[in-house]
Symmetry: C2
Subunit: 336 residues, 2 copies
Amino acid sequence: MNAPRRVGDIQTPALVIDAAALEHNLTTMANARPGGRLRPHVKAHKSTALARLQLAHGHRSFCAATPREILGLAAAGFTEDLLLANECIDPQRLRALAQLDTDVMIALDSEATIDAASAAGIRAALIDVNVGLPRCGCDPNNAGRLADVARDRGIAIRGVMGYEGHVVGVADRTTRSEQCRNSMELLAQAHALVGGEIISAGGTGTFDISALPTEIQAGSYALMDSTYAQLDTPFRQALFVATTVVSSNSKFAVADCGLKSLGMDHGNPEIANKTVWFCSDEHTTFSRPEPVGTRLLVTPAHVDPTAAYHELYYIAEGANPDAAVIDEIAIDLRGW
Amino acid sequence: MNAPRRVGDIQTPALVIDAAALEHNLTTMANARPGGRLRPHVKAHKSTALARLQLAHGHRSFCAATPREILGLAAAGFTEDLLLANECIDPQRLRALAQLDTDVMIALDSEATIDAASAAGIRAALIDVNVGLPRCGCDPNNAGRLADVARDRGIAIRGVMGYEGHVVGVADRTTRSEQCRNSMELLAQAHALVGGEIISAGGTGTFDISALPTEIQAGSYALMDSTYAQLDTPFRQALFVATTVVSSNSKFAVADCGLKSLGMDHGNPEIANKTVWFCSDEHTTFSRPEPVGTRLLVTPAHVDPTAAYHELYYIAEGANPDAAVIDEIAIDLRGW
């Protein structure tokens, strides 16, 4: 395909980023949490080119959810301060992380994860603490003991992390703040037992709520989605799925994006001024139809699993079919 | 990574196919609908290697949902009878299909799709008929007129297709049969107006219900998912997501598969003898916990968007961690 000059020339379905909205989001966050007070989470966008923009906004520490994301960041020159904010017990992948010429930490929440990290030669870690989300993380009361075990095995424990994932999406800010405070109290208890200079927590929904974390692990803020848009954050929708109407009648029309170009766990995507009826593999049916050939920009309900389906982002000077396409960047951190 | 010898050696998350279940499914379908009476839909598995197994079971006609699937099939040597069972108006992609040294048909449901096909040099097509699913397809009464328009433009119209997607998943077979009959009556009306030797319809849930279709477009039957498993089909679950428990406590455990390795539009995946609480990007939390390091096989709720997240299938002699891995095949038809 020739490089598209306008959003309306892009072969669909494809991801489009509104450059001004992205820049607004990166600047807004960098002002609120400059430098090391933000550890951008690359799991949301899975792109080293986008991480480089975050670096240009002053953030030098990054975190990731998969070993492949860490290895990809390191290969792209992000060698200063990387955190695998996830548990991993795979010996091969842990060895690959340990052998990087990079300052890499991982998350530990059990003796089994400590055993695996120690055997692979991992040198630094955070103790991952359960702060209310039923997922990874140790009991706060057990954090100090685990830190001792890890240190005895030669792993430098630099602090704690705890993700209040059950809180970041709560719509009402007062409730969200209250629940976040409860979670951060648990994290503070754990940190008192563990020590270390890092208290890593949070996400896009709680980036400005608590004074406790030394750094926030936010990812979605850069691109946003229709779920986060329901909160009162200062971030703008920057990510869209460009799509083309391929079938139309008097009642409904069908756009060429579907379950394989959209993360669906948060429900249907949104189309401005339309009602989305349902998505199937390669289609989205909506009412208030438009003619065949109409280009539309669809807002995904959840950015992370949407990005993971795609190979690249088109960067555009606006979020409309006439906007100029000014760049293409690879989604080069897919997979595990 | 060294090639894994057992399912329990595979780096997780990853797709695993139970070879015996796959073989059962392919044989069962080939017995029920031999040769050209089945047009396997590659959108479900997105793999030319898996299509080759379907070819070895006697099916020589294939259908696909995206131009890239068709181009990939053609490049892999499937040059006999390919159908893009979807509307496409992209001039570049249509030209690429028209220039293949392959017998390619596409679906047409409007004058706009006919215009695009004609301009690109497409030589053959089916008229796509709406048989009740609010998606692509023309009004049955309009099918004959569209066929005339297309033929006037030099496009050979070989018949009709109509996908009763609103019917294929209906749990009760009597209701499913009745609704399928209604849809096939609409398709028969359209075929009477259009003519041609092909009446293409159906899916895994209706492959044996109607006598009308000359061919069935089934895809899910090969690998299956937990949604189709609720029907009374003779097909077995062949596809699993291999996963590892990475965190565990007395109440729940966390496996390393999530929203980026599972299609979620049909809901949570299933784990035998466990209750799945929820999935997040890289995790599935479930109760009745197992220790860290335990290998589990997770059954996806929807095969198509699950396969689209992955790069390959491991073929195994069984669906358990001790089963031998006997092959790896690429998922080489991803994207559009």
